[in-house]
Point group: C2
Chain length 390, copies 2
């Protein structure tokens, strides 16, 4: 049985990056850059007005004749005399021999001429060519997450495709003779199988949309056979159930017989202790506990960072939060606890219903409060560490 910190480190060390693919910028939200991006142009591509106003060559004069107009999209390189100005709009081309734009609010104007009431300094309101980025400069380094702003910036440079890490293909293998599919009749002794849709949704939060679900009977032969084909087809395999110490748990055996390398089994934590983590080639296998709340806890603690690592994220762990505790917590287990909790701007409350079977608490929680295995007690008003899950 290993410590939580060790288990997290082992997952991180073994989740290798996915292969690289080219993707259209417009479809890249949520992907991570596999290579740095270089700007193909200067941005802005020309000297641009930053205001609606008048462009002129700066001098001691206050009065100028209006001899033309430059609106956004124009490119008439009007040759201005020192006594002349042009009407100009935000984003429009500034003629080569103008150097300054005065805001229209600082001018008295008629159709033919302007009188500048408040003279700006030379070069005011002119965005230099390449001010934002010059041709050949780095737009984004590798491992940058593609956000709406990043998409906008790439598009503004005319970049159509980028190199990103592929998203892992994922499968879920469900075991358990006690399980009945929702929608079917619930016979005595059975429960509805809910982990597969829950884990599918968890994977979906990372944009892994097409997770395949497989169901097998609770026996070694069926499980071994199902794993044979699954292990070669997917990058991440989640197995739900069949991994605790009970006599009827044989998932670990089926994995080992399929040459899955055991990287750890059982973690000194509550809930979520009976978990197997292994790999075969580049495929990661997480055999998660069957209890829904344990399963989801370990999804957030171990599976989520592994996905982010495979997808190329620079930072695979969510930043932890520190909050003031609303009531004492005891930890008599000697294990690291992950408690479903709800935090606000300053405080955190541990929710009722921490049983590993109870998902309803999870549904209203926004965080897991971490009580490390050495800590026997946290007192009210102590500062504690949370992993946000919202």
């Amino acid at each position: 049985m290993i410590r939580v910190e060790e288990a997290i480190a082992i997952v991180e060390a073994n989740s290798t990056k996915m292969p690289v693919k080219q993707i259209s910028v417009s479809k890249a939200l949520g992907y991570v850059l596999a290579e740095k991006v270089i700007s193909p142009i200067n941005m802005p591509p020309f000297r641009q007005s930053a205001m609606d106003g008048y462009a002129f060559k700066h001098s001691i004069r206050h009065q100028y004749d209006i001899v033309g107009v430059s609106q956004a999209g124009d490119h008439s390189n009007i040759k201005l005399k020192t006594t002349e100005a042009i009407r100009i709009f935000t984003g429009a081309f500034v003629p080569d021999n103008a150097d300054t734009v005065v805001m229209q609010e600082h001018v008295m104007a008629n159709k033919e001429s302007i009188l500048i009431a408040a003279m700006p300094e030379k070069n005011t309101n002119v965005r230099p060519k390449g001010e934002q980025i010059a041709k050949g400069e780095v737009v984004f380094e590798a491992n940058t997450l593609i956000t709406p702003a990043a998409i906008g910036f790439l598009a503004s440079l005319g970049i159509m495709t980028i190199a990103v890490y592929k998203k892992p293909k994922s499968a879920i293998l469900v075991t358990g003779n006690e399980l009945v599919k929702p929608g079917q009749k619930l016979k005595k002794g059975k429960i509805f199988e809910s982990n597969s849709v829950m884990l599918q949704a968890g994977l979906q939060t990372f944009g892994l949309e097409k997770t395949k679900v497989y169901r097998v009977k609770d026996n070694l032969k069926a499980t071994k056979k199902a794993l044979e084909s699954i292990l070669n087809k997917f990058d991440i395999v989640l197995i739900s159930g069949g991994i605790s110490v009970g006599d009827y748990d044989f998932v670990k055996e089926a994995l080992l017989q399929n040459d899955v390398k055991e990287l750890f089994y059982k973690i000194n934590q509550k809930p979520g202790k009976p978990m197997f983590f292994g790999s075969k080639n580049e495929t990661l296998v997480f055999a998660l506990p069957g209890n829904p709340a344990s399963s989801l806890t370990n999804f957030y603690i171990y599976v989520a960072p592994a996905i982010k690592n495979k997808m190329g994220f620079a930072e695979i762990h969510k930043p932890k939060l520190v909050r003031k505790l609303n009531a004492d917590i005891q930890n008599t287990t000697g294990k690291t606890l992950f408690l479903k909790a709800k935090y606000d701007e300053t405080n955190v409350t541990v929710l009722d219903g921490q049983s590993s079977a109870m998902l309803n608490t999870f549904a209203v929680a926004n965080s897991l409060l971490i009580v490390p295995q050495e800590i026997e007690e946290y007192k009210k008003d102590e500062l504690v560490t949370l992993l946000p899950i919202d």
Copy 2:
């Protein structure tokens, strides 16, 4: 010109909820419940063992004969004598006349009998029927966001479909003669059009996947005509550009001629001042500034909460964060500033490059630091308020 706080309140007051639809639980991630959900069953549906161990009727005896087994999925209601126990596994049915389960680790066992070394109290390790939720109880109230945990819980109750608010259908109308589509040749005076893909990605973060993009020439007639058909087809219409004070801006006129009710125009903020917000029937119209960074700022401040309100979210604003400022900030504008910033666990740094044209800063920011219009200065180490955008 109105205050930011007023503008936010007006958006909130006018973004009415979407119609309701039935959706499969497995496809409901990110939707919001329109009606409360009632549990159709007890959960657990029967008395369940919480451990791998032995079930028996609690007494002063320590030795019991093993007369059967109950594994998960079984429902053999074995009648136990007071001298008898059965092998039982986590989640399995507990026979009616057993009341206690002893963990296997607390027992010495051979094939025929057990000797309990550490006697648990009566009722230990037996999950009562309906412990998690009873038939007829409320599973979730209306306006609950469907998370992976919520999906798991609903599925565990055998619930297949739920009533949620539809997601708004959205369109983007792009104006601007200076704009060239990425991939085309960048002629002199032109810039690449990037706001549409940026705003599409912003909408996609709320699961609005199929945003339609329309492009029109910079004139009243074309804009008016395009709006005629768009306004009747979509719930949220974003217009990019054509809304500032320049002579060539006519979007507002086209909106008013299409019977869009003006709810506000221009907000006392920087960036993002020239914005029009209006409505026609239930359709919301946001005419956003053409400058990319202004456009995205107003997307986060105004459009995002409107989407969440239409989708039925209980809380439409992200919780604000408070952090310690790393350097002085001046505000000589008399406007509310939204500064691209990066925060960590304790501090916040305002990023270089706050110009309304600059998206590169936005791509590395994780928050907008809010400087209210009355504040002329924040000093280093002061606590300031942030809107997270990650």
